[in-house]
């Protein structure tokens, strides 16, 4: 069965359409006309019905023609028998598609669900990646553009005194791409009890002695807390810590999934299963319950957890695509990865530390402190 590929085209000029986060509409690259997502969805649903009917008619006609055709091996064709059609291990994990706009062959990762044709540049959606049970429940459309991501990256470099002086100028933005990252969203409830050892410390003086009285308590708290849509990225290509760090997302903008939001961005389908991702959600549920219960322990000088017994009630799992800008930079022969939440603009990424600046900053802080304290002591002594 052939994989269905959609190339959203402008109904006015047939130019390629791409989703624009700022307007929340699909816009034509050529004539600039914009369309609501619902409008394009309805148009393409109608087109799909028509093309299915046409395909059936063509199939009937082709069957009849094939029956009468015969092979011709009279030497008028090129001999391609030496060409190797077997890609071996190289083809594992790859898929080949034909661009509906220019006919070029697209070789993609097997998880790729939306991309752009390297020849004609048209945004292409591989509908088959989202069919049946693979169809996401939700999509959070991009709100911020590529320009916003570049601005955010530049801002990320500011007020970083340890950043190498030429980093912000000399590092090259190798690649910037907007990706709809697949996420599992877990509903659930954490229920359990946590034991703490808490102390109240009372210090007072008696004569020439300072007395410290410490009252020890066994503190127990039981409770439950419900969670909704804890996101855990379901793509092995995405580093988990980066995906965690750009949270949270505002789910009030969550929309029912439609491929019409994908043109202009890359999209992957999940390749990490619900079960494989569940542990990360479980850890976070338990951690939040413990923190919430600890917050109810008040009036003590300190409080340390000694034991916990937490039961997790797992609820519904949702499949969603969330917007992430990925920025790859290169500096001094090393790759640096930054990711930005495509909805909120929160950008994260570890920055290099200049050893010279580190030492310089340390000296700049330490030298006056040492000098001031030494001068103060010398003056006091006099």
């Amino acid at each position: 069965m052939a994989t269905k590929i959609t190339n959203y085209q402008c109904p006015a000029c047939t130019g390629p359409l791409h989703f624009v986060g700022e307007s929340g509409k699909l816009e034509c690259d050529y004539c600039g006309t914009s369309f609501d997502v619902e409008e394009i969805e309805a148009l393409y649903a109608e087109k799909e019905q028509k093309s299915e009917k046409t395909a059936e008619d063509v199939a009937d006609a082709t069957d009849a023609t094939d029956a009468t055709a015969s092979d011709s091996k009279d030497g008028s064709e090129w001999d391609v028998s030496d060409l190797n059609e077997n890609w071996g291990a190289d083809i594992e994990g790859m898929r080949a598609y034909s661009c509906p706009s220019c006919g070029a062959e697209l070789i993609c990762d097997e998880t790729t669900a939306a991309t752009s044709c390297p020849y004609c540049g048209n945004p292409t959606v591989i509908q088959g990646q989202f069919s049946g049970i693979l169809k996401p429940d939700y999509i959070l459309p991009f709100k911020l553009s590529k320009e916003d991501a570049i601005k955010a990256l530049k801002k990320h470099y500011l007020k970083k005194p340890l950043l190498p002086s030429n980093f912000s100028k000399a590092n090259h933005l190798e690649e910037i791409k907007g990706v709809y990252v697949p996420f599992w969203m877990y509903d659930g409830k954490a229920d359990g009890s946590v034991q703490f050892h808490a102390v109240k410390v009372h210090v007072y003086t008696s004569g020439d002695y300072e007395i410290t009285e410490t009252n020890h308590y066994d503190v127990s708290r039981k409770g439950s807390i419900a969670f909704e849509k804890i996101p855990v990225d379901a793509s092995s290509k995405m580093p988990d810590d980066y995906m965690d760090s750009i949270e949270p997302y505002d789910y009030s903008d969550l929309k029912p999934f439609s491929t019409a939001y994908l043109p202009g961005f890359l999209a992957d389908k999940y390749d990490v299963s619900v079960e494989e991702s569940r542990e990360r959600a479980d850890i976070r549920c338990a951690g939040s319950l413990v923190n919430a219960l600890r917050d109810t322990v008040k009036g003590y000088t300190s409080c340390d957890e000694t034991d916990r017994n937490i039961k997790l009630t797992r609820g519904k799992v949702h499949y969603a695509l969330l917007p992430v800008w990925i920025l790859n930079t290169k500096w001094d022969g090393k790759d640096f990865l930054f990711t930005m939440n495509g909805q909120t603009g929160k950008i994260v990424g570890n920055l290099p530390v200049s050893t010279k600046r580190l030492i310089g900053l340390f000296v700049a802080i330490a030298a006056p402190l040492v000098a001031l304290s030494v001068i103060a002591i010398v003056l006091m002594v006099r």
């Binding site: 419900a226 909704e228 804890i230 570890n350 340390f362 802080i365 402190l369 002594v381």
Partner: protein, 264 residues
């Protein structure tokens, strides 16, 4: 009660008498008291004379009066405290050497075993700064703790001579700042390390999350809680007073000078 009152009055009369004699003897220096005024009667006549002679020698040599006064109860002179009583006596009897009335006075109040030291005048305070005063008290307080009055006073007068001698050479007794400077430098370096670490942390913005607080729906349902007291532990620590010696003395200021006071 009556006996005690009579005794106090008698002591005050004796002290007044002693002060009159001292004032007569001290006419030569401008001060109205001798270098040694033993109103409490702690010293024998010969001890008193020896101390007087030594104190006079030191005072004349360096131009800073070195005085010893013993009284029954400092409250008879100033009820605000033993230090206040000391500078009250110093000023009331116009003690001190030279136009600036430089001098150091050690007062012992025997009824309540209190002592105080008062330094007055720029020359005196140059020789006996707060560190010097603190160090000086250690010379005599151990003697007084053992009721060795002459020994304590003798040590005091001699040590004053040493201090004044050093000051005269331009090298007054001062704390060695090296140790304190090293500690201060260490603390400054530690503080700098903490500040740099905080700035370094800002360079690292990526980490795995261990909570999901942003996705909590509804509030925590607290279904049970208990706080049970299990036991009590107590620890004690002797208070180390930075400005005091082992005998619990402390720095004082007032009366136009500075000094120390405490118990012995």
């Amino acid at each position: 009660m009556n006996k005690k009152r009579i005794f106090c009055h008698l002591l005050a009369i004796i002290m007044a008498f002693a002060f009159c004699i001292s004032a007569f003897a001290a006419e030569q220096t401008g001060a109205q008291l001798n270098y040694v005024t033993d109103a409490a009667g702690l010293l024998s006549e010969s001890e008193n004379d020896r101390l007087e002679e030594t104190a006079e020698l030191v005072s004349n040599k360096y131009g800073v009066g070195v005085y010893i006064v013993t009284v029954g109860d400092f409250n008879d002179f100033n009820p605000d405290g033993v230090y206040e009583a000391t500078y009250t006596i110093y000023h009331d009897y116009t003690m001190g050497e030279g136009p600036n009335r430089d001098g150091i006075m050690l007062l012992l109040s025997m009824d309540n075993r209190k002592w105080a030291m008062f330094c007055y005048g720029s020359r005196c305070e140059y020789a006996f700064n707060s560190y010097g005063q603190e160090k000086l008290e250690k010379v005599f307080l151990d003697n007084f703790g053992e009721d060795d009055w002459y020994g304590g006073f003798n040590d005091y007068v001699k040590e004053c001579g040493v201090y004044l001698g050093k000051a005269a050479k331009g090298k007054p007794v001062r704390a060695n700042p090296v140790y304190a400077c090293l500690i201060a430098a260490g603390l400054a370096l530690l503080l700098a390390t903490v500040i740099v670490s905080v700035i370094w942390q800002k360079m690292q913005s990526v980490s795995i999350k261990t909570t999901a607080n942003a996705y909590v729906s509804g509030a925590l349902q607290l279904t049970g809680q208990s706080d049970t007291f299990t036991h009590k532990t107590t620890s004690s620590r002797k208070i180390e007073r930075s400005s005091s010696s082992d005998s619990g003395s402390c720095s004082e200021s007032g009366g136009g000078g500075s000094g120390r006071s405490g118990s012995f």
